[in-house]
Symmetry: D3
Subunit: 281 residues, 6 copies
């Protein structure tokens, strides 16, 4: 099955039943991103979203040094939206070109969030700039004792625009800290990331973190896919809305979803202490 997912700069494998393992694979450049990479990332997650044999996803970076060092600034300074452009060009037309470009780039990263299956991001080593945009689009973030985080964008003269600044205030419980790290671009470690709410677990090293991520992915994959889909969807919906709207949406969602056979299977298994089997989504 992994062949269907072959995309440059990514490895996709299926190390356990129902669990996909996606690796950003450009270790010689610390997994720094150029344009083809976010297009490929998007393609992979759109496919995983509807793949009936997948129930949970682990996302990580190849090599020991970095989840990703962020945008490949050298490539970006040579071509693409940030490259210095024709000064004679009309500012408004250039602005519209940039707007299209940013919206498309954001949309690629948001495809992780839109993936119907939960995504666990494992942040190890250098995790700068785009590393935060990407991991904040994941459902669960874990890291290692040596991870180095930075909302790096102000250091290249811009406000982070691929999702970090929009998702951070909804993900983390200390707005003062959010502004501190985003305005200073300072490097911080997993102790702060855990204390302030950016990650939910920290493990010794990449190996242990990946093992634990796989364990959690396996656990989630053992649950009803209908229950898991609804749980992800309703939390994301409610995060952005008044509680009364979250409640109403939940009622409409479950009007269909409670009709699943999974409830019966799960309840019966729970009472009989057996392992339920659920059909594909």
């Amino acid at each position: 099955m992994a062949e269907a997912y072959q995309k440059e700069f990514f490895n996709v494998s299926f190390p356990a039943e129902h669990v996909a393992y996606v690796e950003i694979n450009r270790p010689e450049k610390m997994n720094a991103f150029k344009e083809i990479m976010w297009l490929n990332l998007s393609a992979i997650f759109r496919q995983l979203s509807h793949d009936p044999s997948v129930r949970a996803v682990v996302l990580t970076g190849a090599g020991d040094r970095a989840f990703t060092a962020g945008l490949d600034v050298t490539a970006a300074s040579e071509s693409g939206a940030l490259a210095s452009s024709d000064p004679s060009q009309d500012s408004a037309r250039k602005a519209n070109f940039l707007r299209r470009h940013i919206l498309e780039f954001q949309s690629c990263i948001t495809d992780i969030e839109k993936c119907e299956k939960p995504v666990i991001g494992v942040l190890h080593g250098i995790s700068f700039g785009l590393a935060l945009d990407i991991s904040l689009a994941c459902d669960i973030r874990i890291s290692t004792t040596t991870t180095k985080f930075s909302v790096k964008e102000v250091d290249i003269g811009l406000a982070a625009d691929i999702g970090t600044l929009s998702r951070l205030p909804h993900s983390v419980g200390n707005l003062s800290w959010v502004k501190d790290i985003a305005l200073s671009a300072r490097i911080f470690g997993s102790d702060e990331a855990l204390q302030y709410g950016l990650v939910s677990s920290v493990y010794k090293d990449k190996k242990e973190a990946v093992d634990q991520a796989m364990k959690l992915a396996n656990l989630i994959a053992s649950k009803s896919p209908i229950a898991v889909l609804g749980t992800k969807e309703i939390i994301n919906y409610s995060r952005d809305k008044p509680i009364s709207e979250g409640l109403n949406y939940t009622a409409v969602w479950n009007a269909a979803m409670l009709q699943t056979e999974d409830v019966k299977s799960a309840m019966t298994s729970g009472m009989k202490k057996t392992t339920p089997r659920f059909s594909k989504l």
Copy 2:
């Protein structure tokens, strides 16, 4: 006065002036809920809301073992919305029946949030499933060193739909952890609940937790009822809205409420170091 509140499966008492003590009372089933219980819970809190002699409420579960083990799954599997139904029934009509049922169930639990008086939930022992839906509708959550929490619903094949998934992202400051506990249904303790923001205090055991809850309730009950009502209302309103809307609502609210005699009484007492007395709400 307690007689007016007699409802099956609940004890309501008034252990101190202006403080109501509500106990879920089905300890032989670990306070598991069946339909009559959420209807009674709602009736009690609607009455407390307008009861002029009540200024703060403590909510707890009877017995040593559980705040509540959640939905009474055995009862639910025998009758009610989750019971396996006539397969010949039209799916859409069944969906509408389920929607009505969920909206009504949610509405009963939301009556705790709508109660004009602050509600302190004391979570001890087993606190699964509905325990979270209920306590997240409380204003303040405290627990004990041995409380066992679980967002249990995915284990019975469904997304939690009585409020947990809608209220958690607005109550807790680590969205990664919210997804972790909701997708895995794993059991966690008060250390995590405190670290990630689900509860605000942890005490040694149920007795101490209840004592502290009563102490806090007494403190709140000693304040101006007008000030307390507004504080609860404005925080709940603002939690769901942009800050500019929260500010505007506050101005309209206080346009009436600052005309209270309580401001004068409180200021005078503050300067004279006496205890103010406030009239009933």
Copy 3:
């Protein structure tokens, strides 16, 4: 330059390039506020917002005892909106007078939030009532080991209406704690403030806290002013909005802002390991 900022009860100085230092200066009354003070505070921050030579602001209180003890209750009880008024006045007309007054007062404090430059609030000593309204309108909050915080308003018979109740639930990751401190008006220290997310750092004493605030302000002031402006603006916008709206706004914002020369300067400096110089905003 400081002369342009001379306002009663405030000291404004420029201890480092691009950094403004604003001091609430009424130490003999523990920096308690009367009406002229919030009007002056507003005027100062509106001016700082557009001052091209300012890139970061530190806000603190004069003296050793208090950031501010809050509203000057004695003054307020003698005149102004809270003073006991003509009982024969029509309640509705009085309500509209109060509404206008609250909206104007809120608007003065919100001018800190609207200031285009990041504001670091240093909370030391007594930090009651208005201290929270003011510091929650700052971007970054730091405190000292001896700071005493209190959402004091219920103790004078009212719901805090100058911003605390609207901003707290969006700034802090434990809603149970928010209600606890707001409903009880109890005094708490920096340990709680840090644990629950109200401040992001705690230092030994005022001197150290101010030194660190200046260090952070200098760091921020060394970045591209365009990048810093956008980072503050987009976080504040996104805090209040669904993520999809935050992303779209970011794209439109950066459509203009990515055209800055600062990106090129910052990238070049980053690659050459030199210090970039940015023109004024």
Copy 4:
């Protein structure tokens, strides 16, 4: 069946299959409302909402003179929320009493909007004040050539608070006209009501209007109850929300509702030119 609906001041009948006919019945007072009447109105519509034999509702006023002259001002001035009250009562406590009262009154009228079945309001004769609050909670409004409309509330010293001012700007396509009629309380006729969008049809007299309303109700009642329910629900939801949210809600709603047998029945009947029969809702 009509017996189950017996409530003072209302007649409920079922003149055609699946169609309920509700008449406000206090013609000797031009159907003016006192408190028991809105409580009864609410009870009737909550019951109609879930009554499986009802698919459309017509709402009208008894007698020739009025749909309703609005609030019974004489009754209101003698007792109830608007009656002059004890001047010694605390303004804030009185405000909270009024708030509870208004919310309850609004909620009764909103039960028409929440009724799962479409409601057609027939406005004839005097249609003042509450007549607009009530009819704006209906789905379809029709009137007669002699109907006299007025948003009467400013003439009794208050802003209309039972729904008119909230629903008008979402129901009518001329905001200038909305303010004109609401600020002046002037009486206008069906020509204006039709031109500016308050009603969608005007008929010669009450008899013809009721006949046409019944005809329309019969037509709606002949459709799939699932399709009708969804159409009402989605329009009401979308009226209040950005289009992207309306679309998403529609998709979740129809995920369940498209599974109805009604689609098959309706398609088959449509192709065979037969009359479909749909099971009850």
Copy 5:
């Protein structure tokens, strides 16, 4: 009293009790606007808002030819935000300068909407560009048979940014027509303006329109100022919000405002057929 309102390019008079008459006064340039004019317009309306002797406002343009021809393009092309600027200036810094400028300009026009007293705009003759921005911030718009309207901005290369494009879709009931006039910049007359919902009445000529506006202003000024204030505020609030939020806001608003003596005066006068007198706001 009119002296307090003396501002260049405006005449403010008080032709009837409680009614202010504001005239844009630059007839030799068809009342075209330059920067000082919108600053003065704002100052006038902020003062009218709190002026206790004013209860309604009529806004018109001096001379026979134009309400206003819009922005004074000649002036704008010579200096100000639209003037061709230093091409060497950084695009992002220029963008921020423009943003500040637009926000301030919008804010001046919005002061008409924020004025607590209803404003009737009389559009006669040429009513181009800014004429729409201004009149859409009024509460009621009337015109004459010879008024010439145009959303002129695309003809000078820009999207209308002082309010027309934001307010039109909330004011008018034909979105297709809104786009037609805004995209084509074509000139249209009062027949279309009335048919599609931009104005609510059309009169023969300026004199008649002003007479009718004064008549309406007098009528509004004869009502309870508390009722009129609330009616304007609640309609504006509700226009922008879901109906459930409009209802809740209304309840909080009226909790204070129903305590007015005006209700009693108005009811008594209504029953006795006398003219009520209301105290100042």
Copy 6:
């Protein structure tokens, strides 16, 4: 250029400079839609959106009989989401399949709304069901004296889910009429469509309507593409948002867009009475 747009069931031509003419081309089936058609429609509009030589689009249906008769019900009943499915399939899994399908279908139609260039829909002949979903995603709707409209969906047992019910209440100024046509599925003509606000012009026949649409498209195409782009974008944004948010977005948008050379060109041409030329977008 038209070759790049060759898609089955559509004709795309460029009858005038900068104007695209898109024709739904399945006249033998009254332009009824099957799945490939909405996918192709989406592809065409996504391409037009970024095509620098296109500035306005006219959308029409081939043949004399219909804009489109809507969904090809025969095809839909044989295969696809509405086809009767395996009764043994799990209802929840089927619901998720339907949700995915509806979201994708909606997204195709929304691509008309997202197209950066204005789209004028010409509705002639039969315009049922999907005809409304499609035309409501256009910017401007015009029709002919013989157009027959119907929100047909309830007649096939479902609530219209491809946009009609979400867009109608934001497009039309008579909510009573919206519910009337949506609940009854009755056929109505251009007189009603014009009166109630669904279309903005009606012409004698298809030929005249197309001629007028082309004339309007040519007029729009002669304007600054930057001004036109912003006008469409800001109206669509503001339609869905509170006015204060529309104003703020406009300021950020124009911060970039006012820097265009088009303003200068347009102003100069306006003063010199010459025709401006604008560069491509």
